[in-house]
């Protein structure tokens, strides 16, 4: 066993010169030309102009990612949905596909019940068990960007015009959208007319009558 390196608290066994030699500090000095290598001091940070009153940790940004919206199992492409709210409340429409935003892409078809190609939230639709065959309908070109609103350019108003009400330009549907509607519905209407009474069914609105118990009705 090596002799102890200290005899008592604070009293070392080896003297300062002995340890200097033992540690080879003379060799380090010789290697660096006669002086100890001095470590570079890190540059002092500039004094901040402002110290906040409380030492508050900045909140780390959330890494939580939203899951894609789950589509109800009763809603499949071609399902007839009943819309529950909005301008087309009660209308029976055909479901085409779910968009990336989670909204459902639907169409009336327009000729049958006046509902255009539109987006609808699942929560505001009842799925019936009636399905239409939409295998021959192409819906690839419809996505959320198709339905984005046009950005309005605001012209600077002079003092006199400030108090005039906005002269709104008539909102016309661009022609390509009308053509899209026609081409989409052409195939779909053929599939609908193949089923008896389905066309009149889609043309009629749904409503509750006396005695109807929605919690007991199967859709």
């Amino acid at each position: 066993m090596a002799p102890p390196s200290k005899l008592s608290l604070g009293i070392k066994r080896a003297s300062r010169s002995h340890t200097y030699h033992r540690r080879g500090l003379w060799a380090i000095k010789a290697k660096h030309g006669g002086a100890f290598p001095k470590a570079e001091k890190p540059a002092a940070a500039a004094e901040p102009k402002f110290y906040p009153a409380d030492d508050v940790k900045p909140r780390a940004p959330s890494t939580r990612k939203a899951n894609p919206t789950k589509l109800r199992s009763s809603i499949t492409p071609g399902t007839v949905l009943i819309l529950l709210a909005g301008r087309f409340m009660g209308k029976r429409v055909v479901f085409l596909k779910q968009l990336k935003s989670g909204l459902l892409l639907i169409t009336g078809p327009f000729k049958i019940n006046g509902v255009p190609i539109r987006r609808v939230n699942q929560a505001y639709a009842i799925a019936t068990s009636t399905k239409v065959d939409i295998s021959c309908v192409k819906v690839d070109k419809f996505d959320d960007k198709y339905f984005a609103r046009d950005k309005k350019t605001k012209a600077k108003k002079t003092e006199g015009e400030l108090f005039e009400t906005d002269k709104e330009g008539t909102k016309n549907l661009p022609d390509f959208k009308k053509d899209d509607q026609k081409s989409l519905d052409a195939e779909l209407i053929k599939a609908i007319e193949a089923v008896p009474d389905l066309k009149t069914y889609l043309g009629a609105r749904f409503s509750l009558r006396d005695g109807d118990k929605p919690h007991e009705m199967t859709f």
């Binding site: 068990s129 009636t130 069914y201 859709f219």
Partner: protein, 124 residues
């Protein structure tokens, strides 16, 4: 007005409350003043309170507590299923079940058919 439907061994009854609601069962034994032992082809034999049974007109010929196979044979011979489905009570229940299972499109078609019938009766 004398009673016509009696609680007896072999009386077919309809369960009107509980887990087996709507099932046709045969009274196979009487346990006490309130309860009977009942059995049906697709059910484990169990006791049930008389209050949960609605007696029907149908009665089959069995001895007290028959074996399951004997019971099934007796039900076949008495043709309980057909007798029930042809009775007005049985027919009503079948219609009720069908109406409850209609989906939205079916209900629409029924409405169209009703209108057609009314119109044709007015126009004729």
């Amino acid at each position: 007005m004398p009673f016509k439907r009696f609680v007896e061994i072999g009386r077919v009854a309809l369960v009107n409350y509980g887990k087996d609601y709507g099932r046709l069962v045969v009274i196979v034994d009487v346990v006490d003043q309130n309860r009977a032992l009942v059995d049906a082809p697709d059910m484990v034999r169990c006791q049930i309170n008389f209050k949960r049974l609605s007696l029907t007109d149908i009665k089959i010929d069995i001895k007290r507590v028959p074996k399951k196979t004997t019971l099934l044979k007796a039900m076949e011979e008495a043709d309980v299923k057909n007798k029930w489905e042809n009775s007005s009570w049985g027919k009503k229940l079948i219609v009720q079940k069908r109406r409850a299972s209609l989906n939205d499109f079916d209900r629409f078609k029924v409405m169209l058919a009703k209108i057609k019938v009314i119109l044709s009766s007015i126009l004729d």
